[in-house]
Amino acid sequence: MSDLQNAGQTIAQPPAGNPATAAAPASTSSRKGRIPLPQSTLLRHLLAVVLCAVAAVVLLESTDPFRNSQLATLTYYAIAAGGLTVLTGLNGQISLGHGALMAVGAYTTGLFLSADEPLPLPVVFLAAIVVTALVGAVVGAAASRLHGPYLAGATLALAVGLPGLALKFKGTLGGEQGLRVRAPRAPEWFGDAIKTLTGNPATATKWLAYVGAIALLVTYFLLANLIRSRIGRTWRAVRDNDVAAELAGIRLGSWRVLAFVVSAACAGLGGAVLAIVVRLAAPSAFTLVLSLALLTAIVLGGLGSLLGALIGSALLVFLPQVTTDLGSAAGLDGTEAAQLAPFVYGVVLVAAMIFAPAGIVGTIRLRWLAQRAKRAVARETGR
């Protein structure tokens, strides 16, 4: 996987490395036929966030409560997948333990919300992020010396072992049955705002979807900036050639741990959103299957791309339901229709590996870059 990503990246790199286009960011925006984008990365990302926020509001207000609930589901998968794609796509570390890290976030949220006077939701979320980041730091420290399959193995142990803690500390964590999470009710201003804005009634489902959407946008905004910063470039350097990176004065270990911590923090927030959307934190929700599903999502979407993580998560959420509905519509009984979903999911995965090995976003980006290179060549020769 990382090889493919490297290939994509090396094709993507030349414009930046090529002295002729070193001033690319400045020239691209002024090139003919382009929408002029702000030159500052921060501004550009802010603009994107505002656009996405408008899109999210439109989407949430134009769909029924069930779609709202599916979108809420999408947000927690996408938050965790975004963190994972930074770790795997950018820093080249594979984690099979992100499901367990989501569990840490979910249980932390559940415990904080079970207090008689629960703290405000943002504080609870922050607590979930901090706790999960700490766990991530410990795991990351242990994992910083490991590579590829060895790291996968170590994090696999985390995925298998951590949910067991819920059984061990049954009194506090609720054992096999899980910890009921009291999802905070929508504040009044939210209901009022939705009513005046759109005239739609504000349901509990919609409130949770909005909470998820806000968490998602904030996470992706921060991650997008991080990816474009010195930190992101250092991570890529570590991924692409660790020897060269070390020679350049980069301390591999601490950068790997940092990537793991950032990624864990996202998983923690994802888990926190999951807890309030599902209203339960139970060990059976955080099995290895969840970790693998997240990994599948980022591979399908395109490693290292936040958009890819979002698309992959959307597939994860919508594909089973759409498939089951199609199955029932085609006359299958409930059981057969249900069995169709994992089958189609598998087929999609295999098809993606064959026809779009760099993931959906990765493949499109490759095509686009190839086109651009061809045009550039044509221009050069035509001149």
């Binding site: 029924d64 049955q177 739609n200 009634p201 339960l280 139970a282 089951t324 409930g334 059981t335 249900a338």
Partner: protein, 454 residues
């Protein structure tokens, strides 16, 4: 009618984001709805109305979540096929009050996160009238608050946890099968009377299931229990637990475990040369399923449930090995008529029995049932519902617990032999008494006929 606002949400108006437009649409929604709902409003009492969400003039839609894929699917995935078969049978005979029952069951793979998603789909998208028989303790716990908040009747949960009997906290939720505590009590009393000198070991699933069962057993034979071993579902090595039971000298082992752990405990005991008297609670004792699991786990070395021969268990429904039971005959007829693949199994009987109770509840709720109405109906009339269950339900305004009794039987081959009459009891320190009612027989039509309440 009340629901017009729900429909409204689907109209993609948000782009416009103007309150004026929204109010205009609200008017549209209202007129639209009255067009659909009319058609005989003048002669009330005689005509069917779309009286609540999920109820139209000629249909009632109910939903459920079951593990249709994954580890919990064997056995449990057959339950909804039984329910479907019984509803098909009722629909073929004209339905209930002229309404056919539409039944929609979705897969949650026994994962609470999925349960929450599919329940959202059932309630918000498919707009079911009621949830019927959602299976599993951890899975259903994830949605019980949501269902109650939305006012959806949460009828007849397919689990014996005590969680479903809490009329204050969860007014729309009802249990159905005997809860694990009363099952434990009946088992405890049986041990005390018939094996007074036995050293009892307990083999328990480490959740509500094992905990409630243990509570019940200990009420009677606390002093006889020499060891209580717990296993975590998912961990397939029960060697330490079985060895500990053997080391403690237990010569009678009572198990509150699921079928796969019946098979595992049998195989492990065989390896260890341990041969106590086994007593498996109802959930873990289906001989057909355990037999196929034994075959599977032992890679063909053990081919059937012969290992279970002589083990004790409990029963509260007629089973497929009683071909002379009129209920079994009815269910066989229903299953054959449904034309679905496979044989009639005890799990399918379970599903049909749940469907039977639902039809009774729907009849009791009157011609134009509402969500509140069916909850009231079960509270008022539920205790008098006569059905395939061996003992009556315990429903009342402040008690939402299911069947209140069962009998103890011994597995012999693929059949079983009754060891006690039907025993009824209740939670806490209620006494165990012999059930004095007549065994019920199905109506000749095979469809219940319950008078509406009020």
């Amino acid at each position: 009618m009340v629901r017009s606002s729900r429909r409204l949400v689907r109209v993609p108006i948000a782009v416009l984001a103007a309150a004026t437009v929204a109010s205009g649409l609200a008017a549209c929604g209202g007129s639209d709805d009255s067009g659909g709902g009319s058609g005989g409003g003048s002669d009330a009492g005689a005509a069917n109305e779309a009286s609540d969400v999920g109820v139209t003039e000629d249909t009632v839609t109910v939903g459920a979540h079951f593990p249709l894929t994954g580890v919990a699917a064997p056995g449990y995935s057959e339950i909804p096929t039984g329910t479907q078969a019984y509803f098909d049978y009722v629909n073929a005979a004209g339905g209930v009050n002229g309404r056919t029952i539409e039944y929609e069951y979705l897969d949650d793979a026994y994962n609470p996160t999925n349960t929450s998603q599919v329940t959202n789909q059932l309630v918000l998208d498919d707009e079911i009238f009621a949830m019927l028989g959602g299976l599993g303790t951890p899975t259903h716990s994830a949605v019980i608050d949501f269902l109650n908040d939305e006012g959806v009747p949460d009828l007849f949960v397919s689990s014996g946890s005590l969680l479903w009997d809490d009329a204050e906290e969860h007014p729309t939720t009802f249990g159905w099968q005997p809860d694990y505590e009363i099952e434990g009590k009946i088992i405890g009393q049986y041990i005390k009377e018939n094996f007074p000198d036995a050293k009892v070991g307990l083999f328990l699933q480490d959740d509500d299931f094992g905990e409630n069962g243990e509570k019940g057993i200990r009420e009677y034979v606390d002093d006889q229990v020499v060891s209580a071993q717990r296993y975590t579902p998912g961990n397939t090595d029960v060697g330490p637990q079985i060895a500990a039971l053997k080391a403690a000298g237990a010569d009678f082992v009572a198990g509150f475990n699921v079928p796969s752990y019946t098979a595992l405990s049998q195989l492990t005991a065989l390896q260890l040369g341990y041969d106590p008297q086994w007593f498996y609670s109802n959930v873990g004792s289906d001989p057909a399923l355990v037999g196929s699991l034994l075959n599977n786990f032992s890679k063909g070395k053990v081919t059937d449930a012969a290992l279970l021969d002589g083990a004790l268990t409990t029963e509260y429904l007629p089973s497929v090995d009683q071909p002379d039971n009129p209920w079994t005959q009815l269910f066989q007829k229903v299953w054959d008529a449904s034309g679905q693949e496979g044989q009639l199994t005890n799990y399918r009987i379970y599903g049909m029995a749940e469907a039977y109770t639902f039809v009774q509840a729907l009849q009791a709720a009157g011609q134009n049932p509402t969500r509140e109405g069916i909850v009231d109906a079960v509270e008022q009339a539920g205790a008098d519902f006569e059905g395939p269950a061996l003992a009556p339900f315990r429903y009342s305004a402040d008690k939402h617990a299911g069947v209140g009794g069962m009998l103890v039987s011994q597995i012999t081959g693929t059949s079983s032999e009754e060891k006690t009459p039907v025993l009824t009891t209740d939670n806490g320190d209620a006494e165990i008494t012999e059930y004095d009612g007549e065994p019920s027989t199905p109506p000749s039509s095979g469809i219940p006929d319950v008078e509406p309440v009020e």
